[in-house]
Symmetry: C2
Subunit: 168 residues, 2 copies
């Protein structure tokens, strides 16, 4: 009686159909930031739906060498019906909950945080602002570029990765 697969795509997310599916990095993503040693990582990106006017999303990152799980982020992408406005509502295993908002333009989504909250016992420095772009390249690859500002750094690029669609 309960099902979440095979339900028709809600018309309010028809313009996000290009995101749907399971993606994974074929080449390593790159992480940089002034306060840390640069690193490489794999990531899975999942965008699914269950007939609601939003997408469920998940980003699961893994260590580039060992495959050990690293960063995990889950949540929802929710467009504002009848507009190009869109919100990302997310939870991260680092202890952050975020709301980002922005626009869908063709096959590119740009998002900027308007709220970044976190657990009281997280480590310093704290993330205070986030920006990201999700875009589909002409060759069918999905790209994510993520920037952040922390309590001691201005907004700077942090993560860049390209995903290929994972075939069943």
């Amino acid at each position: 009686m309960e099902k979440t697969e095979g339900l028709p795509l809600h018309p309010d997310v028809a313009h996000l159909e290009w995101l749907l599916g399971h993606w994974e990095s074929k080449t390593l993503g790159q992480g940089t930031y002034p306060t840390i040693k640069s690193f490489h990582y794999h990531e899975q990106a999942n965008f699914t739906h269950c007939g609601q006017p939003l997408l469920d999303y998940a980003f699961y990152a893994f260590h580039g060498d060992t495959g050990r799980p690293l960063h995990r982020e889950v949540g929802f992408l929710r467009p504002r019906a009848g507009t190009d406005q869109i919100a990302l509502i997310g939870a991260q295993n680092t202890g952050l909950s975020i709301v980002e908002e922005g626009e869908v333009r063709g096959k590119e989504i740009t998002l900027t945080s308007h709220s970044v909250s976190r657990i009281t016992f997280g480590k310093e420095p704290r993330v205070v602002k986030t920006k990201r772009i999700l875009s589909l390249d002409q060759d069918g690859k999905l790209r994510q570029c993520f920037s952040m500002a922390t309590s001691n750094q201005e907004m700077r690029p942090h993560l860049e990765i390209t995903y290929c669609r994972k075939m069943p």
Copy 2:
């Protein structure tokens, strides 16, 4: 190379082992609130781990009659090592991102929001505070009681449901 199953449970979440697994309601959950018509629902509750010092969680609710997906909430339960303190970092399909904090006492977790954020284009009234209790009954059933305050209601009970462990 990338795997999230079969990894050993992190010692920091050993005291949460009773939560692990997939649960589903056998009897309907009850939703009440002064501003809405009372309703019944089914829910799946998933608590998993991938070797990190936290649990991944998801609550997926379905309409009691039609099985249509309703409320969806995903995120993480992250204890503060060496204490009974715990945080929930969550994203909800309604457009809310939350951080709740509280305590683990035996097989009961009590949580109160210290941050509730939401998309700018959500409907009124807005949720402004949340409380919940997750507890394991003596008969092995998991119970969740969820209360909330909104922009026009004081803190009141909203949801109550009991889950049975889903056998593989």
